[in-house]
């Protein structure tokens, strides 16, 4: 099953800390959003493998904007 990890806060993508193919677990930091000069971790809600990264550094995020597609275990 595929699922997406979405932005929980608006802002700019500071960095993506996983790569396509990375195995991730629930609660793991997958990306960082810079909101009002504050760095906020985006955490995975899934156990699985990163299938596709949809965003890059400095992309503008709105809440619920899909960031990473995960192949869920």
């Amino acid at each position: 099953m595929e699922a997406s990890i979405n932005a929980h806060m608006p802002g700019l993508v500071a960095r993506v800390v996983v790569a396509e193919g990375t195995r991730i677990t629930v609660g793991q930091e997958v990306a960082v959003i810079n909101c009002m000069k504050n760095e906020l971790s985006v955490l995975s809600q899934y156990n699985g493998v990163v299938k596709k990264i949809l965003v890059k550094e400095w992309d503008e995020m709105q809440v619920d904007h899909p960031m990473i597609i995960v192949e869920v275990n």
């Binding site: 806060m9 608006p10 802002g11 700019l12 909101c35 009002m36 000069k37 504050n38 906020l40 400095w58 503008e60």
Partner: protein, 450 residues
């Protein structure tokens, strides 16, 4: 006044603030805006506005080329950088000057030099101003950090030589974390500040943050406009500032004024600036760094002295001499400022959004509110969370605090979370009222925050 038209390379409340002085002096004002600020209230007060690019600050407010372009297109003959963004950027100062415009601030040469905290520490050492115990020059590796800790004990701070804005400061409490912290801070420095150099400072126990506002002209005349107590901070960023400090004695004041003058003249500084000091619990002052720009909290000093700092910045940039002497600077009563941030009042988690309803208490006596807010205004997630500064004057500290509380009580911003309740909570606390606090105050009151 030589300056006829001023471009303000910034956004938000500071643009409105600078325009106010432009109007007093008959100077035309040019504001710039990114995509995210297309409808922002600060633009409405400017005589002219220029679009400078996407919301991402790297492409707009931090983009030297488009800012210079806007300056040329508008025919501005001077640039005021405000605070934050490019305000202390030597390359920007240079680009402004090369484009034939006047830079409102210290020279590019001074900016380049003071960007390095180790340079400042060395200058201080040379002119006999104490600096916080630590290294004067960048550390070479973690062996040096371990050796320093063995000699002087933990906790210590590792600080980026070119860090700023509360970034690039890490505490180390034991040997095990040296390598990890050293590598992390070097990485941050490399990415964010183009330099991974860092130095050591011994952590002072319960220090207070005391700073001195000064201004100097190109002929080397300097005056100190008084100190500001800025110990109430979260994430190394200030929340409440006041003048005079509840603890600084007249003797201490004269001493830190003297330190400030020695440092400023050794740096060859002209324009407005601030020397930041830490005061130990035993009343010893250590020079920390110079803020080579107009500061967020400058209204505190303006209210206590009656001196318009922005006006004097513009005069000095135009080549004028200081129009007053140290003896003519009168400090009257007490001033206290509370910053209102778009943040959760307890967790300080950012809270961008849309202002649905707004009431600003502008009808109160002895209250100044610097802001650029309006109903239905979007507070974008891309920039600093500062919404407004509420500043109160009183003959005494309790009078100023009471006035500030009243103003905050009547300040209403709906649609997003603000730190108005936080300010209230701090101002009403007993320790604050009695002047018993240090830079750890917010942490003690609200717990560990990121």
């Amino acid at each position: 006044m030589i300056i006829k038209k001023l471009l303000i390379a910034n956004r938000g409340e500071i643009v409105s603030r600078i325009i106010r002085t432009c109007r007093d002096l008959g100077i035309g004002s040019v504001a710039v805006y990114s995509e995210a600020d297309r409808n922002s209230a600060f633009l409405k007060q400017a005589d002219e506005t220029y679009f400078i690019g996407p919301a991402n600050p790297i492409k707009s407010y931090l983009n030297i080329d488009v800012l210079i372009e806007a300056g040329k297109k508008s025919g501005a003959d001077a640039v005021h950088p405000g605070y934050g963004f490019l305000s202390e950027n030597a390359s920007f100062a240079e680009a402004v000057t090369s484009a034939g415009m006047t830079w409102v601030g210290p020279s590019a040469k001074v900016l380049k030099a003071v960007e390095s905290k180790c340079y400042c520490r060395n200058i201080a050492e040379k002119v006999g101003v104490p600096v916080n115990p630590g290294t004067l020059d960048p550390v070479k590796g973690f062996d040096e950090i371990a050796e320093f800790a063995r000699k002087h004990g933990y906790p210590i701070f590792l600080k980026l030589d070119r860090g700023g804005g509360g970034k690039g400061i890490e505490m180390i409490e034991d040997d095990h974390r040296i390598k990890e912290v050293f590598e992390r801070i070097s990485r941050i420095g490399h990415i964010a500040f183009n330099s991974s150099d860092c130095y050591i400072e011994k952590m002072l126990s319960r220090p207070r943050h005391i700073e001195v506002q000064f201004i100097g002209d190109r002929d080397g005349h300097y005056v100190c406009l008084g100190e500001r107590e800025c110990s109430i901070q979260r994430r190394h960023q200030k929340i409440i500032e006041e003048s005079p400090s509840p603890v600084v004695t007249e003797g201490e004041r004269q001493m830190i004024f003297d330190y400030t003058l020695r440092l400023a003249s050794a740096m060859g500084y002209h324009g407005a600036g601030t020397m930041e000091f830490l005061r130990s619990e035993h009343g010893v002052y250590y020079f920390m760094e110079v803020n080579a720009r107009l500061q967020v909290e400058h209204p505190v000093t303006e209210l206590i002295t009656g001196i318009d700092i922005v006006k004097n910045q513009l005069l000095i940039a135009s080549g004028a001499q200081l129009a007053f002497t140290q003896e003519q600077v009168q400090r009257r009563g007490h001033v206290i400022e509370a910053r209102v941030y778009a943040e959760d009042p307890l967790s300080f988690h950012p809270s961008p959004g849309i202002i649905r309803a707004l009431r600003i208490p502008l009808d109160l006596d002895h209250i100044r509110i610097d802001h650029a807010l309006a109903e239905n205004e979007t507070v974008p997630p891309f920039y600093d969370p500062l919404l407004a500064k509420t500043v109160a004057w009183g003959w005494t500290r309790p009078e100023a605090v009471n006035r500030l509380c009243l103003a905050l009580q009547r300040f209403n911003i709906e649609g997003l979370k603000t730190t108005i309740p936080t300010n209230f909570f701090i101002l009403k606390s007993r320790d604050f009222a009695e002047g018993h606090f240090n830079t750890g105050f917010v942490k003690e009151m609200f717990g560990d925050i990121r």
